[in-house]
């Protein structure tokens, strides 16, 4: 596996290289490069204003990039008009044609391609069945619920077998339950049709659930590109660590070694055993990421490489899991997460907490 968890053995369908886009003084994209393999599901994940929509529009051809190059199936499409790119796109507000029925909406891309009437009818029927909207063909978009409109938009963007499917936060307007079922449906449809997909979201759970690979974007750049597990377990920057999942961020420097591990002195004064890659050992300042679910309650300091007495600050019960805030003797506060209901602990309770040297990750300081 390449470091970015590259498209691997799959032939690249989409290749964006060094794309740059500015709106006046605002730099929306700053040298973005991305390849997407055939049948792959890649998610652009990032906070508001990070350039996700801009990148998607550039790929679809609705925005021209100032610099860089976009290739689709080996062909340079940087200057090709959107109509000729053969890319299906689902817009955040669906963009269904309000004056056309569901069937006519879905037929639109086929009509534009000069497909014969009988063939159009057959394919519209087929895709309506696939998105479970049989019998809805004669309705107008406004006569459908949000979730149904969403499925029509998906059907319209896929019915012409696009070379690439783009989705811009398609589920953000749906309630949680519907969103979850649509996520599953999308994934099934995508795998069944073998659609190469670029998906945009700012919901990290959605990204982790759906994607083959995730591109975490910030300030018009891709900060990290990789498999969901790699993004979560090996964040490449402080930003990625904080944006994808929860993290305790610790700062310190290497102060020696302890039992085969590096010993790091935190700014708070605590000393930790940390597994550091050899390259990082000599470095000065270090940024460390400790996931809340990696911290455990201990009965005995020998149960973990790092053990500290701590005082409970607060306990949050979250249904499937419990979150605790604890304070170490040095004053350092940590968040700890356990599966299940967790022990009902009163604030002020003193307990031993700990984690192993391999549970903690170093990311480049910034």
């Amino acid at each position: 596996m390449s470091p970015d968890g590259g498209s691997g053995s799959r032939a690249p369908i989409l290749a964006v290289s060094h794309a740059r886009k500015t709106y006046g003084p605002v730099v929306a994209l700053e040298g973005v490069s991305l390849t997407v393999g055939e049948g792959e599901f890649v998610t652009l994940l990032g906070p508001s204003g990070s350039g996700k929509t801009t990148l998607l529009k550039a790929i679809a051809g609705f925005e021209e990039i100032d610099d860089g190059r976009i290739e689709l199936a080996g062909q340079d499409i940087t200057d090709m008009p959107p109509a000729r790119r053969g890319i299906g796109m689902v817009f955040q507000n669906y963009a269904l044609f309000p004056h056309l029925t569901v069937a006519r909406n879905i037929a639109f891309p086929l009509e534009m391609r000069g497909v014969a009437r009988a063939e159009i009818d057959r394919r519209v029927e087929e895709i309506l069945r696939l998105v479970e909207l049989e019998g809805y063909g004669a309705r107008l978009p406004r006569q459908l619920s949000g979730g149904q409109q969403q499925r029509v938009a998906l059907a319209r963007a896929t019915v012409f077998n696009p070379r690439l499917l783009l989705l811009d936060e398609p589920f953000s307007a749906l309630d949680r339950k519907l969103r979850e079922s649509m996520q599953v449906e999308l994934r099934h449809l995508q795998q069944r049709l073998g659609l190469t997909t670029v998906f945009v979201t700012h919901d990290q759970e959605e990204a982790l659930l759906l994607s083959d690979r995730i591109a975490v974007m910030n300030h018009g750049r891709i900060e990290q590109l990789g498999h969901p597990a790699a993004i979560y377990d090996h964040p490449a920057s402080r930003f990625v660590a904080g944006f994808v999942g929860e993290a305790n961020m610790l700062r310190g420097h290497v102060a020696g070694s302890r039992g085969g591990h590096a010993e790091v002195a935190l700014d708070s004064g605590d000393r930790l055993a940390v597994d550091l890659p050899p390259a990082a050992r000599g470095a000065g300042d270090l940024q460390l990421v400790l996931r809340p679910e990696r911290i455990r309650w201990l009965d005995d300091a020998a149960q973990a490489d790092n053990a500290f007495p701590a005082v409970l600050v607060e306990h949050l019960y979250l249904g499937q899991n419990s979150k605790y805030r604890v304070r170490l003797a040095s004053g350092l506060e940590l968040t700890l997460r356990t599966q299940g209901e967790g022990e009902p602990l009163a604030a002020g309770t003193e307990r031993l907490v700990g984690w192993d040297a391999r549970d903690i990750r170093g990311v480049p300081c910034s």
């Binding site: 679809a60 051809g61 609705f62 959107p82 109509a83 790119r85 890319i87 044609f97 534009m112």
Partner: protein, 291 residues
């Protein structure tokens, strides 16, 4: 508990006071009353009076004359034809203008709006005289053409149908532009992007998406222009130089020269009927295609 309270309170409530909605309706009626009254006095009453005049002595004689008389028929259809040409010309010229206004950047949109609105605010008479200065045999256009050697004799631009059409289109263009502009502002731009992304070339985006979505505006603007054209007076009178006959001119002739009030009234009523018919037709068009 709330239910029982409501039931108990209802008989008392019904007796003394109007519902909230009822009170508002009363207020709105009171506010609208002066306007309605004014319209009744200056418009409905004269109209009813005209109707009475047209049925002089309770006979349909004037109408028979209007329908059978060759002159009215000719002028009527001429008027309808001119109104149609003006409407189509306004649509062809006005649609792109409205689109420009609806999509241009703020500065350009403001400039464009001013260009459309300024003449609109200028007196109709002034504008019509301005066209006479431009189009006349010794007008600016003909002087330039002759001066440049492009034509030997001045082109007949004034005192004919061409002059009337130019003047009417110019005066009526804003009436088409504004309703279309208003509708265009509300059209979601991503729909056009979506259509393009789905493989539609620009003319298909226009034909399949933009035109149908803006049709209510076209119908509204078209209705206004067509109906105003049917009754147009000053512009055809001045720019037509008495050679282009339209209904309003004919009616004025009946009143001013023939003193035939009954005849004029019958013509008026026929014109009003034609206008109502045109209105109904456009309305249907707009509704059937409304998104």
């Amino acid at each position: 508990m709330q239910l029982t309270a409501a039931t108990a309170a209802r008989p008392a409530g019904r007796r003394v006071r109007l519902s909230r909605a009822g009170r508002y309706r009363l207020l709105y009626a009171a506010l609208a009353a002066p306007g309605v009254l004014l319209l009744a006095v200056v418009f409905v009453y004269p109209l009813l009076d005209l109707m009475r005049l047209s049925f002089e002595n309770g006979s349909l004689a004037h109408y028979e004359e209007v329908v059978s008389g060759g002159l009215f028929g000719t002028v009527f259809w001429n008027t309808v034809r001119i109104a149609l040409i003006v409407t189509i010309a306004c649509a062809v010229l006005g649609y792109p203008v409205a689109h420009f206004l609806a999509t241009a950047s703020r500065g350009w949109a403001l400039f464009g709006l001013l260009c459309v609105v300024l003449p609109f605010w200028t007196s109709l008479l002034v504008r019509t005289y301005a066209w006479m200065i431009l189009l006349g045999n010794n007008g600016i256009i003909n002087k330039l053409l002759v001066g440049a050697g492009l034509v030997e004799r001045p082109l007949p631009l004034l005192h004919n149908e061409f002059g009337v059409l130019v003047g009417m289109v110019h005066v009526l263009l804003p009436y088409f532009v504004f309703p279309v502009y208003a509708v265009m502002l509300r059209v979601d731009r991503t729909l056009m992007a979506a259509a393009e992304g789905l493989g539609a070339p620009l003319w298909q985006v226009l034909r399949r998406i933009y035109l149908p979505l803006t049709l209510p505006g076209i119908a509204a603007g078209g209705t206004l222009v067509f109906i105003l054209s049917l009754g147009f007076f000053i512009t055809p009178a001045l720019l037509g130089g008495g050679k282009v006959m339209m209904i309003a001119l004919l009616i004025e002739q009946q009143v001013g020269q023939m003193l035939n009030w009954g005849m004029a009234a019958a013509m008026c009523m026929t014109l009003v009927a034609a206008i109502l018919l045109a209105y109904a037709a456009f309305k249907r068009l707009g509704r059937r295609n409304a998104p």
